[in-house]
Amino acid sequence: MGAFVAKRLGQAVVVAWGALTLVFIIVRVVPGDPAKLILGPDASADQLKHVRADFGLDHPLWRQYLEHLGGVLHGDLGDSWRLGGSALGDTLERFPATLTLSVVALVLTILLGFPLGMLCARRPGKVLDLLVSTGSLVGQAVPSFWLGIVLILLFARELGWLPATADGSFAGVLLPAFTLALPFIGWLARLVRGGALEEGAKDYVRTARAKGVPEGLVQYVHVGRNIAVPVVTVLGLLMGNFIANAVIIEVVFSWPGIGSLMVDAITNRDYAVVEAAVLTMTVSYIALNLLVDVVYFALDPRLTPENA
């Protein structure tokens, strides 16, 4: 187990470094001069130089890169020129909001998707099954920003049940979380259904029945335990997906998370914040994957460090 985690951590560091380097390069390749964005069109060459020096943009790229890496090791990604504060601080301040949104979306996905999947598996090919499998496709086929606005118009404007924007209340998180979760509810249901059907056809299920184990226990104990493993993996990936996908939802719902922060930072060439946001997202993605691996490891007794 220790070796397993160590190996994964090693990989994670490589991946994080890669992502960091990638964003560093891309951000600087994208046309657009932060100094001009700061000063506007009237800036003189002298002013521009001054501002560039302030943000260390006048150093050669390799030096900026090395300084950047050095900074990362000290947990310092530089200051945001737009928001004033430390970029990492600003980003981390926003992270709980994104996390809340993702977690609520994940909970919604599980609460709705899991039972749906089990129900479908009970009667494959029947009406509910067809509805869910088509529904899951439709769910992924609708652009989330459109869906988000339609939901706002419906639930906030017409029905007045939920607030249109993030107001910090629980009701405020429901709409964005639901919009985020919707494409994946049917998806999870199909996954659970597939797993339940596949596992249900295995010999050990027959063994359990041959022992006289009641059907409910067969499904939820014998089969359930075995689909837990793939489902947990997928949920971990889903969470990573939510954190990344939250960008659009956050913009639509004015949700103060790192997604909207990042979009804003990109349009304004706020390098430090873009880098901090990417680092946060990447690290959380990697951490989630690591967590999933560990949970997977714990859930599936067949895994050894060798074959994991």
């Binding site: 994208v30 046309p31 657009g32 001069d33 001009k36 964005l37 700061i38 000063l39 506007g40 069109p41 009237d42 800036a43 003189s44 002298d46 002013q47 521009l48 001054h50 501002v51 020129w81 737009r82 928001l83 004033g84 504060g85 600003d90 301040e93 926003r94 709980p96 909001a97 809340t100 606005i149 706002i152 118009l153 906030a156 404007r157 007045g160 607030p163 249109a164 924007t165 993030a166 107001d167 910090g168 913009v251 639509v252 719902f253 004015s254 103060p256 998370g257 909207s260 922060l261 804003d264 349009t267 304004n268 060439r269």
Partner: protein, 479 residues
Amino acid sequence: GFGGGGGAPQGALRAAFGQPVTDLDPYNAATAVDEASLIVKRLVFDTLVRRQGDRLVPGLATGWERTNDTTWVFTLRRGARFHDGTPVTAADVAACLKRTRAVASAQTPLWASVTKAEARDDHTVVFTTDGPLGSLPVNLTLLFVVPAARVADPEQKRRPIGSGPFRVTGFTPSTSVELARFDDYWGGRADLPGISMPYIAETSSAITALRSGDIDLLWPIPPDQLPEVTGVKGVGVESIPSWTYYLNWFNCSRRPFTDPNVRRAMCQAVDLPQIVDRLFGRGGQQMRAPIPSTVAGYAAQEPWTYDPAAAKRLLAAAGLGRGFTTSMMWFDATGPLARELAEAMISSWADIGVTVRPQSIEKAQWLERLNSLDWDMNLQTNTVTTGDAAFTVGRLYTSKAHRMGYRNPALDKILASAAAAPYGSDRDALYGEACKIIWSDAVGLFPLTLVTGYGRSRRLTGFTPAPNNQPDLAAVRRR
């Protein structure tokens, strides 16, 4: 809520503006002329001079006088205090001027000729300029006063200390600002216990929030969305022509726009009355000068008549009888219906055989290209932040500025003398002259002034819409 810390007190006004507040430091270069942060800054900080309608009125300064061409003396109000309890002194004002001169920002041109500010005593500040600067009092409506000790304090970005009627209790950049009433304000305690300014990016969400009473005030409402708030119970709509207008510059240093007749032909080919009426309706006003009618220095010109045939003749005379191909750039967020306006104009030009490639690009790239004059036509909104012709006409159209490739020594001279002139009819005449040259030379096509639509809860009183999009929220009351 997330981030940001404390919220606004119960009963606070909830007001949503169309752009995010990213920073509250009055000397941060990035937000020096940013409308959204100016709205908040005007509540949190004081300025020596204030604008009321089209008059300048005392703020922290009770009075000022111009002792000679290059010297202005301002007398400060007694009893004004900062939010931390310390009194406001002339030394603070001097420090603030020093700071604003030190920071390179979009305001820099305003202060370029102000050489120094000295505290003669606690309540007298003397400004010295290196030439006559008639617009100093106007410019001072943008100099926010903070304690001398804090001019460069990074804390000012998030929890700034000012002497304005409200103090900051919570701030999440680009998300929300929370303000609470400052009880010791020299002008008397504000009526509202606080103000909360959330930023709502999506128009539909914002309008929904206004309709459902989640927010009390929303502006500017995009022209096409005005019908969604008019006639809704509990919501009133007010509008006012703003200092923001669309301009479409021709790159006068690039063929074929080097020829004024080609530019004139382009202006004549566009049916502006129809575009403004159909597209913007109540949300826009056709322009008759290169600056909005509400700006000081405005002088109405003869509008271009819509005459495609005449335009074609002009082109033919310029040797472009078969038309030509050119391009137009803009960035999407520049203003409401920017894309639609561009398309409508492009569509009109197609009728006279001019093919225009639309280029909707990112702001950052737009800026790059704008300054390097790497464009044929540039569509953008522009705001006369000070409400004075000097801010736009005086700044943009000089040969030295070289912003659209237009060079006219005669205009340069007029603008130089206008800049030096004190407020008054002479100055207005000079700017009028400038307007005329710019207009008839067709440096650009100036389609419309935006009319800001304010949607507000009917429970609000004391609210006055402002042309600069920065209404005085301190004066608002709630029933």
